[in-house]
Amino acid sequence: MSRATLRTDRLIGSAVSHAFLLLGAAFILLPFVWMLLTSIRPASEVFTAGFNPIPSRLAAGINYSEALTKSPLLQYMLNGVFVCAGILIIQLLVAIPGGYALAKLSFRAQPVIFGLVLFGLTVPVQVTALPIYIALAKLNLLNTYFAIMLPFFLSVFGIFLFRQFFKSFPQEIIHAARLDGFTELEIIIRIITPSAVPAIAAFAVFSITSHWNDLYWPLIVTTSADHATPPLGMMIFRDQETGSNYGALMAGAAIITAPLILVFLFAQRQFVRGITMTGVK
């Protein structure tokens, strides 16, 4: 085969693969784009515009200001930040030492505990929802931030992810640290955690997106707008204030999605490193 045909072959191959990727991206991004387009359309055009992507008249100002003023959107977002941060911090405090113990310490119960962690991965959150709800109700803790966060403090996925990451950490460095006089806790804090930044970033992205977007659990344990996280807030907003004002609703949705995109862009490089290094995919 000549060099020219080789090059055309390669061109065709790359065109085909790019076409596939573009198709996939379009499929995933289209609802998102539609959300953004609806958020800048006047109310009259939301259903009449058909598939015409360009709005005839920009209504972004009205929609966004309505979303911001007619509902306590900032309050919802603040609740979201508080809940996500609380969950993430406790998850890390539990999962990093847990992952270290499973990866680097040898104790008799280790295989059993690791088996339980894997088993825990298969238990969906809905299964434990009812008992936890009853317990919270009996303790009079419904309608609190604590109630929204409680079921997620212990992340078996986090323990598993950090265990995979720490498995590849050189044993000799841990030996050196023990000889130097580090306690196990200090090894975790001073040696292991600084090396785990990519894994922490990856886990943070997983954790924050899933709890920022979670509607199921907040819906069960809170009824007040005071503690509502963004998706729950959006629901309350739709029911009470706007009724069928989809433009404003989509503007609100766009606003609450924005922080997630920012977080991901910020952590993207570390996230990809973390995923590739832990072998979780």
Binding site: I173, H175, A176, L179, D180, R190, S195
Partner: protein, 388 residues
């Protein structure tokens, strides 16, 4: 005083026995090398001494005191690892000061940020910085103190790892193949530096390597290990000239010792048609292995002495000396001969031409089928003691 005493150490991982009743006594200030093929248990001994892995049975004593119940940091040993095991996110100075920080500050003072508030902590940190500087100067790495390990070359990392082990002034240095990640030239250089360091510090070194050259050139004594046991413990020249076991004879020496098989007779050992007049303790008619170091063979057969008929197959010229590779005419067994350039040129041995090789029978080592040394006559006479 920091002599080290291992008594009856055994250790298994699952069903494999890694250490099998190892006893060893290391003198204060001695440079002792554990050498052996990978998987022979030598690194495990170091980790047991350091307290990083518990033994199944047996005891470890350092300076006459049992240390089995002590944690690694309380044993006053320092270890240098093959991968250097530097803390990747800390600078060279931080790496080197860590052992002292851990030793001299209490748990509260070690806390990041908060610890700095205490006056005692600040004072100790200045002391430590001065000591780290002094050690860095000794190792000529004072220019690297602010760098991170990733920015250092292999040799520099090696020095930092050494420095980290030196700052604590341990009773015993444990070194786990510290030179095996360096390139050949640097390895030779660091060999000299390590022996020099040992002389300067005068502390007990236990050095693990799979490289017999390192074992031979650096140590006061060498323990050769195989399958979790010490096969022979002795000076380098003991192991070379007077190995007690075929495994030792094979492992020590480069090029490897020549092994030809022979049969014992009343007059000596019959190798092919040549009768080597060597007295052995085993009965006649036994098959034995005759070990001949490359310098026990010569191109000049001595009159009245036996010689071996061989054919030259390859010449390796190292400049000052040559390794001549032969095969025995009868059995086809390979032989290596160490010759000077003058010898070689005088003989004008050509490739594939037959040559009669002289054998210095007094230097022949004879082993029975189990690998034990059986030529007792030559045993005592050959011992070469290196002056202390």
């Amino acid at each position: 005083m920091s002599h080290l005493e291992l008594t009856g150490l055994s250790k298994s991982f699952g069903t494999t026995k890694v250490l099998n009743d190892v006893s060893l006594s290391v003198r204060n200030g001695e440079f002792l090398t554990l050498v052996g093929a990978s998987g022979c248990g030598k690194s495990t001994i170091l980790r047991v001494i350091a307290g990083l892995e518990p033994q199944d049975s047996g005891t470890v004593q350092i300076g006459g005191r049992g240390v089995d119940h002590l944690r690694p940091k309380q044993r006053k040993v320092a270890m240098v690892f093959q991968s250097y095991a530097l803390y990747p996110h800390m600078s060279v100075a931080e790496n080197m000061s860590m052992p002292l920080v851990m030793q001299r500050l209490n748990l509260a003072e070690r806390l990041p940020l908060i610890g700095r508030l205490s006056a005692n902590c600040r004072r100790v940190m200045t002391e430590i910085a001065a000591e780290v500087d002094a050690v860095a100067k000794q190792l000529q790495i004072e220019a690297l103190l602010t760098r991170k390990p990733a920015q250092l070359s292999g040799g520099q990392r090696q020095r930092v790892a050494l420095g980290r082990s030196m700052v604590r002034h341990p009773d015993v240095f444990l070194m786990d193949e510290p030179l095996s990640n360096l390139d050949a030239k640097l390895r030779v250089h660091m060999r000299a530096e390590l022996t020099d360091l040992h002389r300067r510090l005068g502390v007990t070194f236990i050095y693990v390597t799979h490289d017999q050259v390192e074992a031979m050139t650096m140590s006061d004594r060498v323990a050769l290990m195989d399958e979790g046991r010490i096969v022979q413990l002795g000076t380098p020249s003991d192991l070379y000239h007077n190995p007690s076991d075929l495994r030792v004879a094979r492992f020590i020496g480069s090029p490897q010792i020549n092994i030809v098989s022979g049969t014992t007779t009343a007059q000596g050992i019959l190798v092919g048609e040549a009768l080597l007049p060597i007295a052995v303790s085993s009965p006649a008619g036994q098959v034995v292995s005759v070990g001949l170091r490359p310098e026990a063979l010569s191109l000049d057969p001595v009159a009245g002495q036996p010689n071996l008929a061989a054919r030259l197959t390859r010449v390796e010229n190292l400049g000052a000396e040559l390794f001549l590779h032969f095969v025995l005419q009868e059995s086809g067994a390979p032989l290596v001969l160490r010759a000077t350039l003058q010898d070689y040129e005088r003989h004008k041995a050509r490739l594939n031409s037959p040559v009669a090789l002289g054998v210095e029978c007094a230097r022949a080592l004879v082993f029975d089928a189990a690998g034990h040394r059986v030529d007792q006559a030559s045993r005592a006479a050959l011992r070469l003691e290196v002056p202390a």
